[in-house]
């Protein structure tokens, strides 16, 4: 069981991202350690510690997306191989994990690509990553989201009550109307607060997606997911994954996975709008990030 998210604690060597996974994309936008906005202490312009690709992926697409990044990182490192039919298996002597999620992946092979991502997305390690992002103030906790949802329901009930009161007690229209308008405004504000990502999380996703084309494979997966499209090409195709292997990928449904917090999700594309997080250039089907993923369950 993973109780904390401590990439450096797995394996004795530096994390692969420290060695540089390509500097294109995010580096131009100041997000993460690739970026020019990162200061000498490993913090970005927001004063946050730099985000790892798995963290970026989780914010942009949920645990499924983070699992995809872990799998692709291990494929690129030569620790995994994928067959034409999508069977992912370990490579002898190269099974060193650099993150807890990667360790989960290595424990879960051999398995089809789609199943591997599902299993990893539903793992305790993915849950630990979620908690880590909550503790960093990037993801809203499920408890807070539930509380906001209940408050919103109360406000809506109050608005309905005001309408009934207008009819039953013959209240002045201004009072009842004011109550309804007020309730709607409060509900709107609460609706924004119910989104899965905090403002900082949404900013991180927005910056990630500003890199519409990236030569960094992990950034590409983090931003769009394997089932996402970049310049009319599927990301899995850009990465050189065979079509029959990609056919094992499944779009992750809303609310799946442990404590998904209701964050739906789908594969993302380089165009369109993110209805959930109000970020531009984001998800093709909304959800605002944290529960989805192109290749998840």
């Amino acid at each position: 069981m993973a109780n904390s998210w401590t990439p450096a604690s797995v394996g004795s060597t530096p994390e692969p991202w420290h060695a540089g996974h390509g500097q294109a994309g995010l580096g131009q936008h100041g997000l993460g350690r690739h970026g020019s906005g990162q200061n000498g202490s490993g913090q970005n312009a927001l004063g946050q510690n730099a985000l790892e690709p798995e963290e970026q992926a989780f914010l942009a697409g949920g645990p499924g997306r983070a699992a995809e990044v872990a799998v692709v990182a291990l494929l690129d490192a030569g620790a995994l191989r994928i067959s034409r039919e999508g069977l992912v298996s370990g490579v002898q002597g190269h099974g060193r994990a650099r993150t807890p999620l990667q360790a989960c992946v290595l424990r879960s092979v051999p398995r089809s690509l789609g199943d591997l991502i599902s299993v990893t997305a539903d793992s305790a390690e993915a849950q630990a990553l979620r908690q880590h992002l909550i503790s960093r103030g990037l993801v809203v906790s499920p408890g807070r989201r539930r509380a906001v949802r209940r408050a919103r329901q109360l406000v809506v009930a109050a608005a309905v009550g005001a309408v009934f009161a207008k009819i039953a007690l013959d209240l002045p229209f201004a009072v009842a109307g004011g109550a309804v308008v007020g309730a709607l405004l409060v509900s709107l504000v609460l609706g924004r607060a119910r989104r899965p990502l905090t403002g900082a999380g949404r900013l991180a996703v927005r910056r990630l997606r500003q890199a519409t084309v990236s030569s960094d494979r992990l950034v590409l997966v983090a931003a769009y997911g394997l089932l996402g499209r970049v310049e009319r090409r599927y990301v899995w195709s850009v990465l050189g994954i065979e079509p029959s292997a990609a056919a094992t990928l499944r779009r992750r449904t809303s609310g799946s996975g442990p404590d998904s917090g209701g964050c739906g999700g789908c594969s993302t594309s380089s165009s369109g709008s993110d209805s959930g997080s109000s970020d531009s250039g984001g998800s093709s089907c909304g959800g605002g990030g944290c529960g989805g993923g192109g290749g998840g369950d």
Binding site: R81, S83, R84, Q92, G93, S244
Partner: protein, 265 residues
């Protein structure tokens, strides 16, 4: 026998690796793992490239006391035709008896009675096969008592009476030499090398004093030495690297193929 060159066992996990490895002249597939009506895309691609694909069976149980299962032979025959294979193969062993499957390639008693049974089964199978049949020596951890023939003599008589070909696994031969004291030189002297179809090479490891032909470890130099002894007697039509688990990086597999080529000269 048709010249095959140097090959590697095609397995689903390493299909792309096999496709991309340089200098793979032929491949072998485990017959029981393929459906004739739904051949893997990778296998079909190799066939399109003109790479021979040889079906290798593990379940005919040709040395068993029961008649050979006609359905298994029919599957092997259909696969050979679908792949346009120059030959098929199985082992000198039995894998089931009394309705039970051992899950292992069990060695035969090297008696004339056991040989009679094996010969009858091989002849029956060959009648339903469209291509020649090659039979492989197995690695054993025990020898049945009261053997009347050496392993080389047993195989030589089998070939003489059935006109089958031989698939010699030098790793199995090495394992038997280590574990059972088989004389490698005598074995190679006794078998009819002119009936050699091809050769298997595989890796293994010693565990608690016993050498295991795991197919999941690197090929050890001693196995290549046995290959060299065979090469000193004959230029084998083909040599194939078998790897069935714990697959290494592509470069390591390429290195093993290169080591085989170096022995062949």
């Amino acid at each position: 026998m048709e010249k095959l060159g140097v090959g590697i066992g095609w397995r689903p996990e390493i299909d792309l690796t096999v496709e991309q490895l340089p200098g793979v002249d032929f491949v072998e597939v485990v017959a029981e793992n393929l459906h004739v009506s739904h051949l893997p895309e990778s296998v079909l691609l190799l066939r399109e490239r003109g790479v021979p694909v040889l079906p290798h069976a593990v379940s005919l149980s040709l040395g068993g006391a029961e008649p050979v299962d006609a359905q298994r032979v029919a599957h092997l025959a259909a696969l050979a035709e679908a792949l346009d294979a120059p030959l098929v193969s199985d082992h000198v062993c039995f894998v089931r008896a009394g309705g039970l499957d051992s899950g292992h390639l069990m060695p035969l008693p090297r008696t004339r009675d056991a040989l009679d049974v094996l010969v009858a089964n091989v002849k029956a199978a060959r009648q339903d096969l469209p291509v020649p049949l090659a039979l492989e020596n197995v690695a054993a951890l025990l020898e049945w008592p009261d053997g009347e023939l050496t392993e080389g003599q047993f195989l030589a008589e089998l070939v003489d009476r059935t006109d089958c070909h031989l698939l010699i696994d030098v790793a199995n031969l090495y394992a038997n030499a280590r574990n059972l004291g088989t004389d490698v030189s005598r074995f190679l002297d006794e078998i009819p090398l002119e009936r050699l179809a091809y050769v298997h090479v595989a890796g293994g490891e010693e565990h608690q004093g016993v050498y295991h032909d795991t197919h999941a470890h690197a090929v050890i130099p001693e196995v290549l030495d046995v290959l060299a002894q065979l090469r000193a007697r004959v230029d084998p039509p083909g040599v194939l690297l078998e790897r069935d688990d714990d697959y290494p990086a592509d470069a390591e597999l390429a290195g093993e193929l290169a080591a085989i080529r170096a022995v062949l000269g």
